[in-house]
Amino acid sequence: MAEHHESVRDGAWYRTYVVTWFWLLVITGLEIATVFLGLPRLAVILLLVTLALMKAALIAAYFMHLRHERLNLIFTIAAPLILIVILFLGVARDALNVFFLRQ
C-alpha cells in the first residue's frame, strides 16, 4: 500500500538522509554562531527565523517524505499553516499596543 518513488539507487538509498542530516547540523551550527556574532538585533532575528524555516522545510521535505507525496497532499498540509501566521500577526500587533498602554 505504501508504494513510494525512490529517488536514489539501491545500495545508496540512505544518501538523501545523510545529506539532509548533514545540512541540518550545518544550519544548527550557523544558528548558534549567529547569536554570538554580535549582529544588529533585527538582523539576528531575521536570520534565525529564516534558518529555522529552512530546517523545518528540510525535515518535512526529506525526513517526512513530503517531497515524494502527491502535490495535493503537500498543499493540504501546507495551506492551513497560513492561519498560524495570521494568528501570530494579530496577537503580536496587539501585544505591541499593550506594551505602549502599560501603566
Binding site: V98, L101, R102, Q103
Partner: protein, 278 residues
C-alpha cells in the same frame, strides 16, 4: 405514505406559513415603530454619538430592507409553489443571477466598511489639546475617578500603598505630583464632573478584573483592562446627570456597578472644582 400529504394539508401549511411570515414582517415593523417611543436608544448627549447613531440608523435601514425582502419572497414562494400536483422545474444554475446577489451585497458591504472605518478612526484619533483629562478606575464593584491637581499632572501609583480608606487610588506619597490629586468615589458619594461642549479624554484603569466603562447616553464604551490604561475621548453636548454602567462581567455584584456623571457649564464646573479642592 407520510410524504403524500393531502392537498388540503399542504394548502393549510402553505397558507399558515405564508401568513406567519407576512405577519412576522408586519410585527417587526410595528413593534420597531412602537419601540421608538419606549424602548429605544437613550437620548443622545455627546458629539460623536450623532455620527454613531446615524451610522446605526443607516445600517438598520439596510438590514430592514433585506429582512423584508427575504421574508416577503419566502412567504410568496411557500404559497405559490406549494405542492399542487405540478412538476418542479429542473433549474439549478444561473450565473448572472448568482453574480447579481454576490455583487450587490459586496457593494453595500464595501460602503458600510468605508463609512464605519472613517468614523472609527475619528473616534480613536488623538484628543484635541484643550481636552479635559480625567482618570476613572473600575473595581469590584464601583467606579472611582481622579482629577489632576492644579499642577495638571497625575501622580504615580504604587499598589503597595493601597488602603481602602486613606489611599484608595494607591498613590505613591513620595511623588510630589500625587499630593494634590483629587480622588472621588463616583459610585456612592461623588460624581464625575464634565464640562459641556468641551472634549474630555477619559483614561481608564482597572484595579482587579476586567470592567467596561459604559455611558449609554454618550455612546461610549471602553473596557478597563488590568495592567494597562485604555482611553477614550468624547464631547458631551447636553448638561445634566447621566449614568455610568459596567458592561463587562466582573463578579457577582457586576449588576450594581454603577457610577454617576454630571455635565455642567464651565462656570459651574470651576465652582465645583474649587469647592471640592478646598
Amino acid at each position: 405514505m407520510p410524504t403524500n400529504d393531502t392537498t388540503s394539508g399542504t394548502r393549510r401549511s402553505a397558507a399558515l406559513l405564508g401568513i406567519a411570515l407576512a405577519l412576522l414582517i408586519v410585527a417587526a415593523v410595528v413593534t420597531t415603530l412602537a419601540a421608538r417611543s419606549r424602548w429605544w436608544l437613550p437620548p443622545l448627549a455627546s458629539a460623536q454619538g450623532r455620527s454613531i447613531d446615524q451610522l446605526f440608523i443607516a445600517t438598520f435601514g439596510i438590514i430592514s430592507v433585506a429582512f423584508v425582502l427575504v421574508h416577503g419572497l419566502l412567504a410568496l414562494f411557500v404559497w405559490l409553489y406549494r405542492d399542487r400536483g405540478q412538476r418542479a422545474s429542473y433549474w439549478h444554475e444561473n450565473r448572472a443571477l448568482e453574480l447579481t446577489y454576490t455583487i450587490i451585497p459586496a457593494i453595500v458591504m464595501t460602503g458600510l466598511t468605508l463609512s464605519a472605518a472613517g468614523l472609527w478612526s475619528r473616534i480613536h484619533s488623538a484628543p484635541p489639546p484643550q481636552a479635559l483629562v480625567v482618570e476613572v478606575r473600575g473595581e469590584q464593584f464601583g467606579w472611582k475617578a481622579r482629577y489632576p491637581g492644579p499642577d495638571g499632572k497625575f501622580g504615580r501609583i504604587d499598589p503597595r500603598h493601597y488602603s481602602a480608606r486613606e489611599n484608595p487610588w494607591a498613590l505613591d506619597p513620595a511623588d510630589p505630583a500625587a499630593q494634590d490629586d483629587l480622588v472621588l468615589d463616583i459610585s456612592t458619594t461623588g460624581e464625575l464632573h464634565l464640562v459641556v461642549d468641551r472634549p474630555v479624554e477619559v483614561r481608564i484603569r482597572a484595579k482587579d478584573v476586567l470592567h467596561s466603562f459604559f455611558i449609554p447616553a454618550f455612546r461610549v464604551k471602553q473596557d478597563a483592562v488590568p495592567g494597562m490604561v485604555t482611553s477614550i475621548w468624547f464631547t458631551p453636548t447636553q448638561t445634566g446627570p447621566y449614568e455610568i454602567a459596567c458592561a463587562e462581567l466582573c463578579g457577582p455584584l457586576h449588576y450594581i456597578m454603577r457610577g454617576k456623571v454630571v455635565v455642567q457649564t464651565q462656570e459651574e464646573y470651576d465652582a465645583w472644582l474649587a469647592q471640592t479642592r478646598s
